[in-house]
Symmetry: C2
Subunit: 309 residues, 2 copies
């Protein structure tokens, strides 16, 4: 099929479930019809639209920033958690825990204007390749999900990203990479303060974060930022459980999708025991509720965009 | 002109300034051209899209809620600031100050689910008329601004509301009244908490507010919620100063508009000395910077939608 909108999806149950859902909610005059303004689709980012192994890409960015900023912060050489980052001691970092990671994010995501931060991220994305795949991260997005996003938009959906990660970080590339504009990216936020520099207003990023919490924080953020309940949601981990349940609990036809990472050769294979992106409770719930589980290995005939793209 | 998109605007400098701006930023291949995804327009709500005199409409709603809830809160009869509301003692309320108003908002905007709150607001809007104009509030919106919103959208703009008032309150009517969908309404927010009622997830509104502060809080909220700098902004008071400055400070052609309430017969007349919606510093700045000031009396040939609408 040359005009197949989901050509990187193998024929089968999963692809049919997507096509069938979209066909039903867009057919005017039928009971399942949903008018376009209510066609809200919410996607997790890490592990759903691009990889999250061996760790979150935003962490790799933050670690690289620690290395870049050490001349201005020589004390970091002997201060945790920065020392662990500089020594590449990931084991020590894991031991230091989530608070240490938050400290690294805060230190590397504040102290500059929003414009300066965006330029730093854009520069990093343009010059950093994933170690295993040797690709730029913006080329390490899932081709089937790009097709799905486009297919939904073609059918009148508004596609949103709802992530626990930094919204400013994602917004730098989401527009070009996913065709998701900044105002449709919801995530954790570095608090900003309006200041005047050279008689021009700027927003300075402060060392304080307004988080979108994984789990229950996702429906809360959806209400705050989107104000409508999605009819379509896609995630890949237990952190997406409440977003999927919130979507499922609405009235009318709904689609709940899960990316199950089953392909160690082409991407990664992990689920119930993974530290990053654990998929355990949600896998059981998806099975029990009949949600759509993408088996990456069999459902995707292509994982990343081809070179020719 | 039967197909005039701004037919409630009188011919003159103000109307020409709007038409000229939109024509310039939408003409492809010219230096002022702005591609559609960057055509972001931000509007204040109270005093810009609907009246704010003698007080904010959301306060009238909150006062009515205090009266409705008094059987469940008999202690309010003798407790300020509720007693002042119940006795209609606006002078006492003003004396009690902003903290008292926040207490009233909190008490009347929490303790129910988001769905329940939305139903309460919708019911109130459907049954409450403005005392002076005898109209429902959703019919007390400015017809010229409805035309402006529609005209901008026809020209590829995304129209946002950026208000210090409650976003949940505005979202109830913004879609139908302004054709601004919930996800494009930014405002102060009652914190919600995900809970499970009858095995279904609900968002409960808590007695705590995440404010969009007037003034500097508006650019901060624009960055957080929209993530792009507007090229077009409209306000009417000193609380919109920083939003207009933030808009003006961007690169390229910009439009900054102010509604000046000059028409005591058809609406209200107030500016530099008003308690609600004071327009003082911004009036000077608009004059100095050449921003567009709408003189309601002369620029609008119609203020509210006609009955036939």
């Amino acid at each position: 099929m040359p005009d197949d909108p989901l050509k990187s999806w193998s024929d089968g149950f999963t692809k049919s479930a997507i096509l069938n859902f979209v066909s039903r909610v867009t057919r005017e005059g039928t009971p399942d019809f949903v008018p376009p303004p209510k066609r809200i689709a919410a996607f997790d980012n890490d592990g759903t639209l691009w990889p999250e192994q061996p760790t979150y890409i935003q962490f790799i960015f933050a670690f690289d920033r620690v290395k870049a900023l050490v001349p201005e912060h020589r004390e970091w050489r002997t201060r945790q958690p920065f020392q662990a980052v500089l020594e590449g001691n990931m084991k020590a970092l894991v031991t230091l825990g989530e608070k240490a990671l938050r400290e690294i994010i805060t230190a590397t995501h504040s102290g500059m204007t929003t414009d300066q931060f965006n330029a730093i991220v854009a520069d990093w994305l343009a010059n950093t390749r994933d170690r295993r795949f040797k690709r730029f991260y913006t080329e390490l997005v899932y081709q089937p999900m790009l097709e799905l996003l486009a297919y939904l938009r073609t059918n009148g959906f508004k596609t949103f990203i709802v992530s626990g990660a930094g919204q400013d970080f994602i917004r730098v590339f989401a527009d070009k990479t996913y065709c998701v504009p900044p105002e449709q990216v919801v995530g954790s936020n570095t608090v900003t303060e309006l200041q005047v520099h050279n008689s021009s207003p700027v927003l300075l990023k402060m060392p304080s974060v307004e988080p979108v919490e994984e789990g229950p924080g996702k429906p809360v953020a959806i209400n705050r930022f989107i104000g409508q309940r999605p009819i379509f949601a896609f995630g890949n981990s237990d952190g997406d459980k409440e977003m999927l349940e919130w979507t499922a609990a609405g009235v009318g036809l709904r689609f709940m999708g899960i990316v199950h990472h089953t392909d160690a050769d082409r991407e990664w294979a992990y689920d119930r025991k993974s530290d990053v992106g654990r998929l355990d409770k949600v896998l059981d719930e998806a099975n029990a509720q009949g949600w759509t589980i993408v088996d990456m290995k069999s459902d995707w005939n292509l994982v990343f965009p081809t070179e020719e793209r």
